[in-house]
């Protein structure tokens, strides 16, 4: 019962938060709503006995991602309303509505399968973070490391893209062109 109440409550909040995110004209509102939604999602995680995931969700999203966004938004001067020229909004809702409808239709039917077996079962009496840790560092060690590389890539990408060197483009600078260099020196 508690589960049901929690589910519907969280669902309602999450959905409304996300709707605000995608519909709001104000970037700040959007971001706040997104952050709220994320936290709600972590609520689901706790609800689903995925404590570790819930914690990670909160830390990563509200801690890291939102901070990044916040920095970004300071840069973008996002306090003003976002002006968008949204074309054919009906099409948008048609597309997403149809997709949603079809997905819901598909998911309404319960999944029947006798052959599903848990490969990495949740063992009773083992705390979730511990279990996750074990799986993560055995089976999923490689993806974990690759994720590390991925984050490294993302870091490098973020640094060089946002870095100062990108301001002056060697690609556009015509080498050996006297005129251009003269202009540059002035």
């Amino acid at each position: 019962m508690f589960e049901a109440i929690a589910f519907y409550l969280f669902s309602a909040v999450t959905i409304s938060m996300f709707i605000i995110t995608v519909m709001s004209k104000n970037a700040l509102y959007s971001m706040s709503a997104l952050a709220a939604g994320m936290i709600m999602i972590s609520g689901f995680f706790f609800l689903l006995d995925a404590d570790f995931l819930g914690v990670v969700q909160i830390i990563v999203y509200t801690g890291a991602v939102m901070a990044l966004y916040a920095f970004g938004m300071m840069f973008f001067d996002a306090t003003r309303d976002v002006k968008e020229n949204i074309r054919a909004p009906k099409l948008v809702f048609l597309l997403s509505g149809m997709t949603a409808l079809l997905l819901v239709l598909a998911f309404v039917a319960p999944i029947v399968s006798d052959h599903i077996q848990a490969l990495y079962p949740v063992v009773d009496g083992v705390e979730n973070p511990q279990a996750v840790g074990i799986v993560l560092f055995t089976k999923y060690l490689v993806p974990f490391e690759v994720a590390a590389v991925m984050l490294l890539v993302a870091m490098i990408a973020g640094i060089i893209l946002a870095g100062k060197k990108m301001d002056e483009s060697l690609t556009l600078k015509i080498d050996g062109d006297e005129e251009f260099q003269n202009k540059g020196s002035k």
Partner: protein, 100 residues
């Protein structure tokens, strides 16, 4: 009783909200937000499946999705900053130099 289907439907709805954002918004930042929603929507699904099947793989997937989402944010913000520096806007209507 909350079944797996409930969660999957929730996941689908959240996903479609993300899609609305993707299809609708013209601001790069908003698009980035929407992609976060997409990824998080599936996270819910994964966690739920994980719970109902008693299998940790779903949580693993969700974990990596979170990692990917974070990385995407970093790269995405990097790209946006470069673009913003050049053009002073994040509206995707400003990037139509290539077409046809």
């Amino acid at each position: 009783m909350i079944t797996l289907s409930h969660y999957l439907i929730l996941s689908a709805i959240l996903f479609c909200i993300g899609l609305v954002g993707i299809y609708r918004r013209k601001n790069l930042l908003m698009l980035l937000f929407s992609t976060e929603i997409l990824l998080n929507a599936t996270n819910v699904g994964f966690a739920a499946i994980s719970k109902f099947y008693g299998d940790l793989t779903g949580q693993m997937f969700a974990f990596f999705i979170v990692a990917v989402a974070a990385s995407e944010v970093a790269v995405g913000l990097g790209l946006m900053i470069v673009w913003y520096k050049r053009r002073g806007t994040l509206d995707i209507d400003s990037m139509q130099s290539m077409h046809g």
